[in-house]
């Protein structure tokens, strides 16, 4: 693998390999010395044009656990705020000798552009509404663990419901393609105002009523309602949104007993997810955060762990 830009091009074999390596990394993280020498001498820059705590933090920790040298560059407080273009920033940093860039950018497609400018490996840490592949991988990782805890191997016949603001969600897009590749059935539950154009071509079911899928979902993935959308006229009020699309205590009770609850965070408790759901025994939300470091270690190892010549 040269870059990780999206989940469209991720084959079943690659995705499975990434998830399997993440299991090994998770083992390492439980040790007294949770560190591997695999990326010693490699340099990784985390270039974030958007605020982020968990994604940036877990990438940084993953890099350190693999003994890479890592550097954080945030748009605020850097030459980016002085008007430097992304291309110039990348070329400047690349000139210092960088093996990989982990990039988050508010514009869809901006991260893929970076591959045209520098020779380093590029990891997409979220670009606009487009993609956030490591999030989808860590979601798949906790789902697979959940299924295995029930004694089930494989994804066939599993239904994943993705609920909420699909239109503005890179998490939803990343998950749709990865879950389809893995073999799950995906159901999107979204108000008509929050569905992307062309969603009919995604090869997934789209419904409006959350109550229709509660009884069949093996995983319900709640999407965050972003504050700016609440005033954007996409739905009448947060209260009405919560009543129609929120995972209320009443809805939790109607889930299959084996169903799991996911949320990419940060949560708006009482809006898209109730505290009863977030803190339920079958909530995987904290497992998702915990899996982030192991999954990102796996991605970085597969991009940077071998020789470069093979890929070029």
């Amino acid at each position: 693998m040269r870059h990780l830009l999206d989940t469209y091009d991720l084959s079943l074999a690659d995705a499975t390999r990434l998830l399997d390596t993440a299991e090994t990394m998770a083992d390492v993280l439980t040790r007294d010395v949770p560190k591997l020498p695999a990326l010693r001498g490699r340099t990784v820059v985390n270039l974030f044009y958007e605020d982020s705590t968990r994604t940036r933090g877990s990438f940084e920790l993953a890099e350190k656990r693999l003994s890479a040298d890592s550097m954080n560059v945030a748009a605020k407080g850097s030459s980016v705020s002085k008007g430097e273009s992304m291309r110039d920033t990348l070329l400047t940093l690349a000139a210092m000798g960088v093996d990989a860039f982990v990039i988050r950018h508010p514009a869809s497609g901006a991260v893929a552009q970076a591959t045209n400018w520098v020779g380093a490996h590029i990891v997409n840490a979220g670009d606009g509404w487009h993609q956030h592949p490591t999030q989808a991988l860590l979601d798949a990782y906790v789902m697979r663990r959940h299924y295995r805890s029930l004694g089930v191997e494989g994804w066939q016949g599993k239904t994943v419901a993705i609920v909420g603001d699909v239109l503005h969600s890179r998490v939803a897009r990343s998950n749709v393609w990865l879950q389809k590749t893995l073999g799950s059935r995906v159901v999107l539950v979204a108000p008509p105002t929050l569905r992307p154009a062309g969603v009919a071509d995604w090869g997934v079911d789209v419904v409006s009523d959350l109550d229709d899928v509660l009884g069949e979902a093996d995983v319900v993935m709640m999407l965050r309602v972003q504050r700016e959308r609440m005033e954007g006229g996409f739905f009448p009020s947060t209260r009405e949104y919560s009543e129609r699309y929120g995972l209320t205590p009443d809805r939790v009770a109607r889930l299959k007993s084996t169903a799991a609850i996911c949320h990419p965070g940060p949560m708006n408790r009482g809006v898209e997810i109730s505290s009863a759901a977030a803190d339920a025994a079958n909530s995987l939300i904290l497992d998702q955060v915990a899996a982030g470091v192991a999954v990102r270690m796996s991605v970085l190892y597969h991009l940077l762990g071998g020789t470069d010549e093979e890929d070029r």
Binding site: M1, D20, T24, V28, D32, P37, H302, G306, T307
Partner: protein, 178 residues
């Protein structure tokens, strides 16, 4: 003049069985019993060998011995010279601290695998003693490493390849030089 090199079997299944039985006794002798022993196989074929040694120790002494596996992929010194290698899992029953760890591998050649295993072990804890058991020592060391328990010593040319086949991984037990 070049000629087609034929594979020759240097150890058959019975030879391998006898070598393992002797190594098991040597391990018991140097350890004065089975107390505190932990056999760590280096994948792939070191793992079934470690299990065979444990079984032989159990037969001789009537004491079950802990067996684990130590994946060394991410400690290899040639990691960056190869395409990304798939990683295995390290499974250690309990802790390595203060135990007598016997690393088990099929062939000792350059010594680089063992060096990587020592680095990997170092990150797991601090064993009291670390020893090395190999089924075949074929020479050509590139590092100052030697084995404590050896099944057989083979004089080989660097161009030759030594293959250890085991029932568990290959469906047949033999050592072949080609």
């Amino acid at each position: 003049m070049t000629q087609a090199v034929e594979a020759r079997v240097v150890l058959d299944a019975d030879d391998v069985g006898r070598a393992i039985a002797r190594m098991a006794h040597e391990i018991l002798e140097s350890n004065r019993g089975a107390a505190g022993l932990l056999l760590l196989g280096i994948p792939r074929r070191g793992v079934p060998l470690a299990h065979r040694l444990a079984a032989a120790i159990d037969t001789a002494e009537g004491v079950p011995v802990a067996v684990g596996e130590l994946d060394i992929t991410m400690y290899r010194d040639d990691l960056r010279r190869r395409p990304t290698l798939p990683v295995g899992r390290t499974r250690v029953p309990g802790s390595v601290d203060d135990r007598v760890v016997v690393l088990v591998d099929d062939v000792l050649y350059s010594g680089r695998t063992v060096a990587a295993a020592l680095d990997a072990l170092n990150d797991l804890g601090r064993p009291r003693v670390v020893r090395l058991a190999v089924l075949v020592d074929r020479g050509h060391r590139e590092l100052p490493i030697r084995a404590d328990h050896v099944g057989t010593v083979l004089t080989t040319k660097a161009a030759e390849v030594v293959d250890v086949h085991l029932d568990e991984t290959d469906g047949v037990t033999e050592v072949v030089v080609r």
